[in-house]
Structure formats: C-alpha cells, structure tokens
Amino acid sequence: MDDYVARLKKAVIEYDMENIAALAKEALDHGMDPLQGIEKGLALGIREVGQRFGAGELFLPELVMAAETMRTGVAVLEPLVPKGAGARETHKVVLATVQDDIHEIGKNLVATMLTANGFDVVDMGVNQPTDAILKKAQELHAEIVGVSALMTTSMPRMKELLAAAQTKGVRSKEKFVVGGAPVTEQYAKEIGSDGTAGDASGAVRLAQKLVGAKT
C-alpha cells in the first residue's frame, strides 16, 4: 500500500497526466486509504514540485502539468474519502479582473501558480463588478480575494472593492490582494489592501504568508 502512495507522489512529480487516474483506481482496488493517497502521495508530490520550481530547478509548464496530474488524482480519490475523516485542509482563493477591464493573462498565471501550490482557486474571469466578487467570496468562504487590473482607468475599482468590503464588514474575514501592471506597493497600501506582488511567483509567496498569518 505504501508503494501506491509513493507511486502517486512520483506520478505527480513526473507529471504523468495520462496514467494518474488509472493508477489511483488501481491503488484503491488494492486497498489504499484514499485520504492517505491524497495527503501523503499527491499533496507531498506537488509540494516537492513547488519547492523545486521555487529553487529554479523546474520550469512553469512542469509545475502546471504536475498540478493537473494532482487534480486528476484528487478527483478520483476524494469522493471515496469517508465523511468526517478529517477533511483536507485547503485555502480558498477567489480571483477576478475588476469591472471595466478585460485583461487576464496575469491573473490566469496567478491562478495557475496558486493552484499548483495547493490553493483552491475559483477564477471568476474578467470585467467583474465589486458586488459579484464580494458575493462569490462570501459564498465560498474564501480566505483570499485577489483582483487585477491592467488599465490605470480601471484601477479605481480596486479601491471601490476595498471600501465596499469595509462597509459590508467582511474586510476582517477575507484578505484582499491586488495586482496588475499599474499597481505599485504604495498603491496597494494606500487603498488598504493586504498586499501586491510583481509576478505570479510573488503572488504565491504573498498568499502563503497571508494564510499562514491567519492560522
């Protein structure tokens, strides 16, 4: 059984997207505990991949494919985890491009990187009104809300979001991060957000710090 856990971990590290589902099923047939398979197999695998990417040993596509492999594996194992067996701890993140802005490449990269680092990301897409973002965050009990803007003209929507969160009293429950080409550290501070990062790797570090600080 340990052998299957190790093989699942290895499959994630080697991003064996094609065979992971079959391997997970085979492992279950041989009596592997699904929670064990996720936590000691898939999750440890992606953590190692994340560390090696951070150290500059791996390239982004390898990280993305490893995350995809993990997701496929989780999809097979998770439904079989007995209820109340100590649910997996994941950190929920809601991402969106603010209203009046349709640019999303940067946001998509952040979503990819956060997912690859074990965050549970819900990406709302582009041109999202403040109310919709707050509603979604509340609905999903998100720990972090991340919004992006590429245009200087749509940046004020970030300020609007922070102000609305304050008014609605959710500001203390969720962490708000902002990003995009025109966003500076100073702007992020001025509007009262919990921070910004210049690229997707920085966004992962910021998110890790924020959820770490909360627990």
Binding site: D100, D101, N127, M151, T153, M155, T184, Q186, A200
Partner: protein, 487 residues
C-alpha cells in the same frame, strides 16, 4: 518623409516558410475559426460567406474569403505628421522608429523613484522625443494618472498633440463611442473631418486577445476609426508557451490567424481601410512568470511577421528595443540591442519600443535617449557598404600614394557623414580625459541630453484656438454619460 532605408536586409523566414505559415493560418481560420465579439462584425462575415455560431460567437472564415481579401493590392499606410517634414510613409521599404507607450509608471527623472506616471511625464516624453533624430512617430509614452479616469484617454491625446508635431500612434483600445471622440479631437487639430481623412495625423492600435479572440468593443472601435480614414493597427500578441505554442512558428501562426480575421473584418467594414499588422510576440519567462519583452525571440518574431505582413499586403508594426530590466543600464541595452538590430535589418515598417523599462511598463527618459543612440548604430549597419568606383577610390589611393595620409582629402569629407556613424552619446575619448571630466557614465550623458531637450520649445506649436478647442472637448467628455465601459 522620414525613415531608414535598408541596404542589407536580414529576413528570418525563407519564401517557403512564408507560404507554409500563410497556408496554415488560412486553413486555421477555416477549420478552427476565431471568437469575434462584435455583432456587427459577425453580421458582415456571415454575409460574406463565413460560418457563424452566434451563441459561442465563433466564426469560421472560408479560405476563399480570406484569399479574396488578400488578393487586393498592397496598401501602404501614410502616417501624416502635423509637421509634414516628419510624415512617415510605411511603404514596405523603410523602417521607422516609434517609442514604446502607455506606461502606467515612470522613473522620476530627478529622483529616480518609480511612481505612477503623470500628465507632465507624458508632455516631457513628447518633448524629449522631439529632439531625437532617429525617432519618427510618437505614441503617448505614459498615462496621465493625475487626470480623472473617465477622461484620461482624451487627455493623453490632447497632451500629445500639444507637445509634438509628429504623427500620433495611439494605443487607445477605444470602443466606437470613445473612437468618435478621439476622431473629433484629431479633426479639430487637422482642420476638419475631411482634412483628417486626407491627412490622418493619428492612428489607433487595437489589440486582439490571444489565442484567437477579437474583443467586440475593440473591433467596433476599429471600424469607427476605419470609417474616418484613421489607420488601424491590429496588435496581436500571443505569448509563446502560454497563449500560443512554445514554437515561434506556431505562435506566429496564431498571430496570423488573429490578424487575418481582423483584416478581413476591417476590409469588409471599410473597403480600402489602411490596416497595419501590429505584433509583440515574445515568450513567457518560464521561471519568473513575467513576459520576456527583452528576449531575442521578440526580434525574430517581429521579422517573421514583417515578412508575412508584406506578403499579405500590409505594413508591420513590431516590438523592438524592449527590455525587462527595471532600470536603464547594461541589461536594458544588451536586451534591447540584438532585438532592435533584428527588426531594423528585417525591415519592419514601424518599430515600437524605445524608452520604456520592465517590458513596456515604466517610462525612462534616459532609456529613450540611449535607445535613440542604439538606433543610430544599427542604422549604420543597415546601410551596409556601398561599392562603386567612387567608393573604392583607386585613383585617390594612387594620388595619396604609399605612406600618405587621407585626412586632408576632399573625398574624405565628401563621404564622411554617410560612411561613419557619428556618436552623440558614445564616449570615445581617452581614459585620462574621461577621468578628468568626472568619469561620466553613458546614463549621465543621456541625462544631460534629456535636460537639453526639455529646455527646448515645442516645435510647430498648436494654434491657441485649437488648444482651447481640445480643452473644451475634454471638458465635454467629462460631463458625458458613459454608455459603454471604459477599456
């Protein structure tokens, strides 16, 4: 008339390569299609024989339609300038230089601090560009973040018209309502809508969304510009490895599909609309997740797309001299130079990229001036070596004779200026003189040139009545109800 002529072109694709990519792009449009967000555009395409899925907004364009549009003769684009001497004719045989633009941030010239750009930064960038001998077309270099967001689009154009007499290439990303206001501003400067049509002193860059998506409002804006005779550049920028195949040929094909669908649309909407193929195809850095604007690949794709654009009968607009560095210096120059060299020698009709750092994000007046010097050096390479009896000068060699000196010969002065690159920032003094002069770096010397440029008055200033009119138009826009979202 401005522009560099290229005596020694350096294509990156063979004729067969061009045909192969062209065929793949045309086949791709028929087989895969593109997402076209504009209702008007889908209607036009459907009428012309395309297969339209209205719900998914996906349009498959038959080969015959694309070929029919491509069969039209080449359409050169003239970028008229307020100062006619500075008009840039994109005629497929000259290279023109334009700065990079729309930078949200600026490295403050006095303090070196990185901060949001202002209206004054934009005016300063235009005034410095006026002093550069290798700069032909002006793209508003940064945003006036101190102007209210709802009128920033118009303020940036206003400031540009007021501070440079060059053609204004504007990455407005405007929808049709915004385009109408921008066109009205252009007409106010040109002396009326008909004058603007005859001599368009501005053009607009409208971007596609990779892979294979044409935003609705963006294309509606393109139609509005086209109807007013204002040239449009359809700017394609798949990122190899992320929003396009990692193989450059693959990403260039994606760009070609996006551009061709935009070209077909623009030509269906306005028959002879001047259309430019804009591109910035450069990889995603697979370790940092940033777009590698300073990559050498950026220079290769710019040339490949220039070759394809010419094959399609359109001028090209490519990135070049771009950098991912955060400050002007060695990295920004060694990233920018090979890329710039490639696109200049590749004959790109218009190269955008001077003067911004951090992959087109942060304005640096110092970099702008240094890039101008890089262009001067590349211009010399592009000019090659002219071989004739006059230049071989065997008679002169005989006359000066063995052990003689050519300094005092008329032939030397006659050809000096065309034969030698004459530096303005490069320091060729001996080390002791350089030391005595305070060990000034290239950046120090560039700063001096920036200061000198800023001390000059704006050439060909606008008539005060036109300035007032532009101001009134911006005021009016601030009071108008916004019916379409700001882009």
């Amino acid at each position: 008339m401005s522009g560099l002529s290229i005596r020694r072109p350096y294509p990156v694709l063979s004729k067969d390569d061009v045909s192969q990519i062209r065929a793949a792009a045309i086949e791709g449009l028929e087989r895969i299609g593109v997402k076209i967000g504009t209702t008007q555009g889908r209607k036009l395409l459907k009428k012309a024989g395309a297969t339209v899925d209205e719900r998914a907004e996906i349009v498959k364009i038959p080969r015959s339609l694309t070929e029919e549009i491509l069969a039209k003769p080449h359409v050169p684009v003239t970028m008229h300038a307020r100062d006619p001497k500075q008009t840039a004719v994109l005629d497929f045989s000259h290279v023109h230089l334009c700065n990079n633009g729309t930078g949200p941030l600026t490295l403050d010239f006095e303090t070196g601090k990185r901060r949001p750009s202002t209206a004054k930064d934009l005016a300063d960038s235009a005034r410095v560009s006026n002093a550069l001998e290798n700069h032909h077309v002006f793209w508003p270099m940064c945003n006036s973040n101190d102007a209210p967001p709802e009128v920033r689009l118009y303020v940036d154009l206003q400031i540009s018209f007021e501070n440079t007499p060059k053609h204004i290439l504007y990455a407005s990303g405007a929808n049709s309502e915004e385009a109408r206001r921008l066109i009205a501003m252009g007409a106010a400067v040109a002396g009326g809508a008909e004058e603007l049509r005859k001599r368009p002193i501005m053009s607009s860059v409208q971007t596609t969304i990779a892979p294979l998506q044409l935003d609705g409002p963006m294309m509606d804006g393109a139609f509005t510009f086209g109807a007013a005779g204002v040239p449009v550049a359809i700017f394609t920028m798949p990122t190899p490895g992320a929003t396009g195949p990692v193989t450059l040929a693959g990403s260039v094909t994606v760009a070609a599909m996006e551009f061709l669908s935009g070209l077909v649309l623009c030509r269906l909407a306005n028959r002879n609309a001047p259309v430019i193929w804009g591109c910035g195809v450069t990889p995603l850095d697979m370790k940092t997740t940033t777009r590698a604007g300073g990559a050498p690949e950026h220079g290769l794709t710019g040339v490949a797309i220039t070759q394809l654009a010419h094959d399609f009968g359109c001028p090209s607009l490519t990135g070049g001299f771009d950098t991912t560095a955060s400050v002007p210096g060695t990295q920004s120059s060694i990233e920018g130079f090979p890329q710039g060299l490639s696109v200049v020698l590749g004959g790109a009709d218009l190269i955008v990229g001077l003067g911004l750092l951090e992959d087109a994000k942060t304005l640096s007046l110092v970099k702008l001036v240094i890039d101008n010097e890089e262009v001067a050096m590349i211009k010399r390479l592009a000019d090659g070596i002219v071989v004739s009896d006059e230049t071989i000068a065997l008679d002169l060699i005989e006359k000066v004779g063995i052990g003689g000196m050519f300094l005092a010969e008329k032939h030397t002065m006659k050809h000096l200026r065309e034969e030698q690159y004459l530096p303005s920032l490069i320091d060729r003094r001996s080390a002791d003189l350089w030391e005595r002069d305070g060990r000034k770096s290239l950046e120090d010397r560039a700063r001096t040139k920036v200061r000198q440029a800023l001390a000059q008055p704006v050439p060909c200033p606008l008539d005060p009545a036109v300035v007032r009119k532009l101001g009134a138009m911006v005021d009016e826009a601030s009071k108008a109800e916004i019916t379409e979202p700001i882009r």
